[in-house]
């Protein structure tokens, strides 16, 4: 019995534990001890049209129960991705979701079209409209419901594959953006991306990250993520992929109860590249011990006080 079978749109995933964009590479270059076929899916690092070298160091730093990063969307660009990396996916049977980022609507569309033009085993796309570390495609796009709706409506026209939209928490009311992208035809909402933060090195009197502002992730932001997912779940009917500070199976159950259909593991992969797989095993054990035959019974099963 597979208690963890997970459906989103027309796709069946072995389980609802995915790896988060930017925290697992492209899935092609893993430590020997990671058996990625066990994962529900891998979401690639954000791909842009042109290759990007990313930001100068320092790019990452630890914070209390979290970390800041400003990688600056370093990636190989769509052409090399298609030429060198996509062919490698043929030999693996883990489901791949390609995360797409851009500086203009046109760039998102171009990347998506390039991917659609080649025959691949990719099951879908995650549209990153929430990167805190670039100007457009992050803070401008992802905080504006109209712009977000327009972009997703356009992208929807060009693909029948899964279309996830990844939202930023750096917004007064995330439910408005969630509704706007659902209306535009998104298959699922991925939330949350990192929270804008900053660190200061008092010895050097400099920011801890070159770009001054950076994205906060890890257990520190879990309460923020849970609140947002719970709020989103009240206004949309498409599935939510919960992201933010998940480090063990208990955290996964919190996200399921809050309303998530699947989750992504981010920062935890840095501590242990096997974090997702450990969590799958733990979760299975929990379900078994508690006589729960399908994990999906937990989705949204939160008993509010009032």
């Amino acid at each position: 019995m597979n208690r963890l079978k997970c459906s989103i749109g027309s796709i069946e995933f072995n389980n609802p534990i995915f790896t988060a964009s930017g925290t697992f590479g492209y899935g092609n270059d893993l430590p020997e001890f990671v058996d990625m076929s066990r994962l529900g899916a891998i979401v690639t690092k954000s791909i842009t049209y042109e290759p990007r070298v990313g930001n100068p160091p320092p790019r990452v730093v630890e914070t209390p129960s979290g970390m800041l990063n400003s990688i600056g969307l370093a990636n190989v660009g769509i052409r090399i991705f298609i030429k060198d990396i996509i062919p490698l996916y043929e030999n693996i049977d883990t489901k791949i979701i390609v995360n797409i980022a851009g500086s203009t609507n046109g760039e998102y569309i171009k990347v998506l079209k390039e991917l659609e033009s080649v025959s691949t085993d990719i099951v879908g796309y995650e549209i990153n409209i929430s990167c805190p570390n670039v100007e457009f495609g992050g803070m401008e796009l992802g905080v504006d419901a109209k712009l977000s709706n327009k972009l997703i409506t356009e992208l929807r026209k060009h693909t029948e594959k899964l279309l996830f939209v990844k939202l930023t928490p750096n917004v007064t009311d995330i439910t408005i953006i969630a509704k706007a992208v659902e209306d535009a035809g998104a298959d699922a909402i991925s939330a949350i991306n990192t929270v804008v933060g900053m660190g200061i090195d008092i010895g050097k009197r400099k920011p801890t990250i070159y770009k001054t502002y950076a994205g906060l992730s890890g257990p520190a932001i879990k309460p923020i993520a849970l609140a947002m997912i719970h709020k989103i779940s009240k206004v949309v009917s498409i599935p939510i992929i919960g992201i933010g500070g998940i480090v063990n199976y208990k955290n996964v159950i919190e996200f399921l109860l809050a309303g998530a259909t699947a989750v992504q593991i981010g920062t935890a992969n840095f501590r242990n590249p096997n974090a997702g797989i450990v969590i799958i095993d733990e979760l299975n054990k929990y379900l078994k011990e508690n006589g729960i035959s399908r994990y999906s019974e937990l989705i949204g099963k939160l008993d509010l006080y009032e």
Binding site: G22, D29, G54, P57, R59, V60, M67, V247, T267, N272
Partner: protein
């Protein structure tokens, strides 16, 4: 590369603020390739510090692996609390190794501050092979040294305050040493300003060198793209954990 909960065999202070830890890991020792490689450690189940801490391998003796660490902040402080029989969660070995073409060159090894681990490792390997080398180890003051200044055996210590060995930095020591050798090649590890200074001197003198460099790391496995160092030749970056930590001196740029 593997993650191993390794048994600690020894964890002792060897100089002011400097500790040596020896732990046992067949898994990591089996995969170990040579001096330059490092491991990344996690002190405990505490998520206040989510990120591992990279530490160069100072020695591998059968399945016993040594690291030498300086107490900087919370995690290195917590490391000092561990005792033999406790375990430590170690990811490794990570990265590449020094490439010593000792047939062509005379190796001069330089370790500054806590950069001495991979240098001591390399030094021991070369000496065991019977290769003649010169080693320079620098620190601020004698209290931070745990080795003996021994010019007869080509082992030079330097201190900023002159309390032991050569009075000055490793650069001063290097300038002295360079006078007596032919066809030198430098192998260095230490703080960025030190490597930067060495880089400038060597460029002037066209002396080849390999540097083991540091960069803030979130993963150690190529996932996070955090650990970059600028390439000298263009505006791109190397990943220290995947492409390094050892680079040819003329490949990397310091700012």
């Amino acid at each position: 590369m593997i993650i191993d909960k390794s048994d600690i065999i020894e964890n002792t202070q060897i100089a002011e603020g400097i500790w040596r830890m020896v732990f046992k890991s067949v898994e990591i020792a089996d995969r170990y390739l040579g001096a330059g490689q490092f491991v990344s450690v996690l002190t405990d189940d505490n998520w206040e510090h989510p990120i591992r801490r990279p530490m160069s391998i100072a020695d591998v003796n059968e399945d016993k692996i040594s690291i030498i660490y300086k107490v900087f902040g919370s995690v290195t402080q917590a490391l000092t609390k561990l005792k033999s029989k406790d375990y430590i969660d170690v990811l490794g070995p990570i990265g590449n190794t020094f490439n010593v073409d000792y047939d062509t060159f005379y190796p001069i090894l330089i370790g500054g501050g806590i950069g001495l681990s991979p240098i001591l490792n390399l030094s021991k390997c070369l000496v065991q092979k019977g290769i003649s080398i010169t080693t320079i180890i620098g620190a601020k003051t004698s209290k931070e040294h745990f080795l003996q200044h021994n010019p007869n055996k080509n082992m030079f210590l330097s201190t900023d305050d002159g309390t032991i060995g050569i009075n000055g930095t490793v650069i001063d020591a290097l300038n002295i040493v360079l006078k007596g050798v032919k066809n030198p090649k430098i192998f260095a590890c230490g703080p960025e300003p030190m490597l930067f200074s060495i880089q400038k001197i060597l460029e002037e003198k066209s002396i080849p060198a390999q540097f083991s460099v540091e960069s803030y790391m979130a993963c150690g496995v190529g996932f996070c793209q955090g650990c970059v160092i600028p390439k000298k030749q263009n505006n791109e970056y190397y990943l220290v954990c995947k492409d390094g930590p050892v680079f040819e001196a003329n490949e990397v740029k310091f700012e």
